[in-house]
């Protein structure tokens, strides 16, 4: 290893809140060598971003470095006055921020923002700044730099914005670049290209890179050394191969187990479930479980849900140079078998959530058919449509928005029962207890409100609500993407266990192929509204036929 450029020793950062001080970072010690790439991995709240911002002197007003040393090129930066930091920022240490959507000034042209970085660093004067700006944009991998420089951030895609931010970061040829989750707001395929590009740039210029990420796979794949942070402390560091192969800290091991992209084979489903609640589909209080679905002519049961040639157009504001409609879903056909999981994968804007809404009959398709247990429900309206709701339920992506903040957990879970007037108050309460138990929450949460629960707990409540009517199908719309990796794993395990116990079918929607692999029996890949490939999960992973599927597979970190 080369000489250390950055030597952080016993760094401590505290946030002052109204009543107390929170220790965000405690006794963090690490080094980054000249030209080295070091990754800090941790879940939300682990202090990884706070560490990054402390290295730039950009902590919010409420936070302060309370101890330790930040040695940079032989100087101690801890306690440096603002003026001193200003000399350093940009020229010596640069930042690639997390969210390209909000990190560019919305009312300034891209070119002007890059030029500002050049001017401030003193690396260009009036005469050369224009040419240098275009050069930088090209270096950052933006096509047509001349055009892009004249545009505003809102005219660029997320990936292009992140490239503009990279251009800003490399403008002054800094010695250290701090990249704070530089791609977590981007689509998976874009993510990979951006990370490749950053890697190429730092390798070429010999710049050191401190990469902050929540994704152990990304860290292991790109860094020379990996640090694992938990609750403000560094619990493990070492070369990625060593950390992955022989983690010393139990937390690291847990992270590796939980990371969907790193496990070579599906994890064993290991959750034991409580007693099985009875009832018929759509009515938990009915006497008996139904007879198995009638077999078709060829001896197979009809799928729980099938859609045929489903198409959905959205009307756009009228315009001369554009068609008046956007085809969000284009001729999609799929079928979900009883007790199985269908994974629908696609990037943002691919139409996957629209399909979910169409199947749930929250929106009307432009054309095509939706069959529920062999019965055409495409045109169901009014009371008939309402009855369908007893057989299909949804688990939303964002557990913070999908629970009514003013109601207790018990009220939330029993809301569908109350809507259909099923059962007495006492029976509903009993049913809520059963389900809360089923999703492995203590009975005490029944009286609480969503704000008092963690994200993972809320998602469990949402699952309990979805199951309360004994539905045949649960649509899970990105149910784990708002959660930390370790919580993700628990929720996926829970969903799988519930399925084997209850025989419910899932339509599992995700942007993350690695997650889908762990839960789905069949996978469909959606690209711009079209189902480009579908088949049994392992077959897709082993031999993807469509180029887009292969691109998605390659984008899974840790798969190389």
């Amino acid at each position: 290893m080369s000489a250390a450029l950055l030597e952080v020793e016993d760094l401590a950062v505290r946030y002052r809140t109204r009543r107390s001080a929170v220790r965000a970072v405690e006794a963090a010690t690490f080094t980054v060598g000249e030209g080295e790439t070091v990754a800090i991995v941790g879940e939300s709240g682990s202090g990884k971003s706070t560490t990054a911002y402390a290295l730039l002197g950009l902590l919010p007003r409420s936070a302060a470095v309370t101890g330790g040393r930040i040695g940079f090129a032989g100087r101690d930066l801890a306690g440096l006055p603002e003026r001193g930091w200003r000399e350093l920022r940009g020229r010596q240490i640069a930042l690639i921020p997390q969210d390209p959507g909000t990190s560019l000034n919305p009312v300034q042209r891209i070119g002007a923002q890059v030029a500002e970085a050049l001017r401030l660093s003193g690396n260009a004067d009036r005469g050369t700044v224009r040419a240098r700006t275009l050069e930088l944009l090209a270096d950052a991998g933006l096509p047509d730099p001349e055009v892009r420089a004249r545009q505003y951030p809102s005219q660029l895609s997320g990936g292009m914005r992140q490239r503009a931010l990279i251009a800003i970061a490399i403008a002054a040829r800094p010695r250290l670049i701090v990249a704070d989750e530089p791609t977590s707001a981007l689509d998976v395929t874009v993510q990979r290209r951006i990370l490749d590009h950053i890697g190429g740039l730092v390798r070429e210029s010999g710049t050191s890179l401190l990469l902050i990420t929540h994704d152990l796979g990304v860290a292991a794949e790109r860094a020379d050394r990996v640090l694992v942070m938990r609750a403000g402390a560094i619990v493990e560091q070492g070369a990625p191969g060593d950390v992955l192969a022989a983690p010393r800290d139990p937390y690291t091991r847990a992270l590796i187990d939980a990371a969907p992209g790193l496990a070579r084979t599906p994890r064993p489903r290991r959750l034991e479930l409580a007693a099985l609640p009875g009832g018929a589909p759509g009515d938990p209080f009915a006497d008996a479980r139904p007879a198995p679905a009638p077999a078709g002519d060829d001896g197979t049961a009809p799928p729980v849900v099938a859609v045929e040639d489903l198409t959905k157009d959205f009307r756009l504001p009228r315009s001369a140079d554009r068609p008046g409609t956007l085809r969000a879903v284009d001729g999609v056909s799929l079928a979900i078998a009883r007790g199985r999981t269908y994974g629908l994968v696609g990037e943002s804007g691919s139409g996957k959530s629209t399909i979910a809404r169409l199947i749930l009959r929250l929106a009307d398709p432009t054309s095509g058919r939706i069959l529920l247990g062999g019965e055409d429900v495409t045109a169901a309206r009014g009371a008939r449509q309402r009855l369908l709701r007893r057989r299909m339920q949804i688990v939303h992506q964002n557990p913070f928005a999908s629970l009514d903040p003013r109601r207790s957990v018990e009220q939330i879970v029993t809301d569908p029962l109350a809507s259909f007037g099923l059962g007495s108050r006492a029976r509903r309460r009993h049913r809520a207890k059963e389900l809360i138990d089923l999703v492995a929450l203590p009975a005490a949460v029944l009286g609480r409100r969503p704000a008092e629960l963690s994200g993972g707990q809320r998602q469990r409540v949402a699952i309990a609500r979805a199951l309360v009517l004994n539905p045949e199908l649960v649509v899970c719309d990105e149910p784990v993407s708002a959660l930390d990796v370790s919580v993700q794993a628990q929720i996926l395990d829970l969903l799988a266990a519930l399925q084997s116990e209850l025989g419910v079918s899932y339509l599992f929607i995700s942007h993350d192929l690695a997650v889908v692999r762990h839960i789905a029996d069949e996978v469909g890949v959606l690209h711009r509204g079209r189902l480009v490939e579908s088949g049994p999960t392992e077959q897709i992973f082993a031999a993807a036929r469509h180029a887009y599927t292969r691109e998605l597979l390659d984008a899974i970190p840790g798969r190389r």
Binding site: A254, L441, A444
Partner: protein, 302 residues
């Protein structure tokens, strides 16, 4: 050790001692009291509001006797222990007049608040939930109401309702406030209707009446509650301004704005006659705004 242990789901998170589990009004009241104690400014403001309301309900508690009693021996005297606010040109005790004026100003402002909030909330709810044609008509109406400056709209209504009664002035001020309340409510209803839990309720099979009453309405009223006190403060400003201009209570009926108005002829010699009642108006509005702000901070942003 497994991930399950690490992330500590479920039972280990006990509710803190501060969060009693019993929902409902008593907890809300206790909580608001606790909040007030932590913000002395807001606490003083709330105390002031309570005092002013008490003065409106039972003025004799604060200023016994007839506020209009004339004492020729004590004309135009400055503030003293006998006469906290001094006396006017007929020797009437200004403090007594101000206290009794509360009973005119506050009911008018309260009426304005009820009219503005009630009609505004209803219009906003209808527009936001029914959408389509209803929304269109209501929004155009709101546009028009907003285009006429509030006080001018109120003055126009006063010209119609007559200028004799403070309560008429209250109604006029209330109508002038309908548009902005309706806009806030509509925006809130639209926001709540889009949220995941409303969709979940629909997927759960709830009828639209249940969706509105159980989910949309309770969750959209938050900002409206915050508006209540804010609107009350504005209504006090409106009512006193109109009566300062000579609409509403007529002399010698004591009313805050009218008191300021009748004292202004003596500004050079007896400043207290207009400025002390004016200060009471300002303090009351300030207090209402302050408390509203405290409530907003507490409940507004989740």
């Amino acid at each position: 050790m497994s991930v399950t242990d690490l992330a500590r789901p479920a039972g280990e998170r006990r509710p803190g001692p501060g969060t009693a589990r019993r929902p409902g009004l008593p907890r809300a009241v206790l909580r608001s009291l606790a909040v007030l104690l932590r913000h002395p400014g807001a606490a003083l403001s709330a105390l002031w509001i309570v005092l002013v309301v008490a003065a409106a309900v039972a003025p004799s508690l604060f200023a016994p006797g007839d506020p209009l009693a004339i004492d020729p021996a004590a004309r135009l005297q400055g503030p003293s222990l006998d006469h906290l606010f001094g006396t006017d040109r007929l020797g009437r005790d200004l403090f007594g007049e101000t206290v009794h004026g509360t009973g005119r100003t506050l009911p008018a402002a309260a009426l304005a608040t009820v009219v503005g909030l009630g009609a505004g909330t209803l219009l906003g709810l209808l527009a936001g939930f029914l959408r389509a044609a209803t929304d269109l008509v209501i929004m155009r109406l709101i546009d028009v109401l907003l285009s006429i400056p509030g006080l001018l709209l109120a003055l126009m209504l006063v010209a119609v309702l007559g200028e004799g009664d403070t309560l008429d002035v209250g109604i006029a001020i209330g109508v002038a406030a309908v548009a902005s309340t309706a806009r806030v409510m509509r925006a809130e209803v639209l926001r709540v209707s889009e949220s995941g839990f409303v969709e979940a309720a629909r997927t759960g099979g709830a009828r639209w009446t249940r969706v509105v009453l159980r989910h949309v309405l309770p969750n959209s009223l938050g900002p409206v509650w915050v508006l209540t006190l804010l609107l009350f403060g504005e209504a006090i400003l409106g009512v006193t301004t109109l009566s300062f201009l000579g609409f509403g209570a007529q002399p010698p009926t004591p009313e805050w704005g009218a008191l300021v108005s009748s004292g202004r002829d003596f500004l050079g010699s007896a400043w207290w006659l207009s400025l002390l009642p004016g200060a009471v108006v300002a303090l009351t509005v300030l207090a209402a705004n302050r408390v509203s702000h405290a409530v907003e901070e507490r409940t507004g942003r989740r």
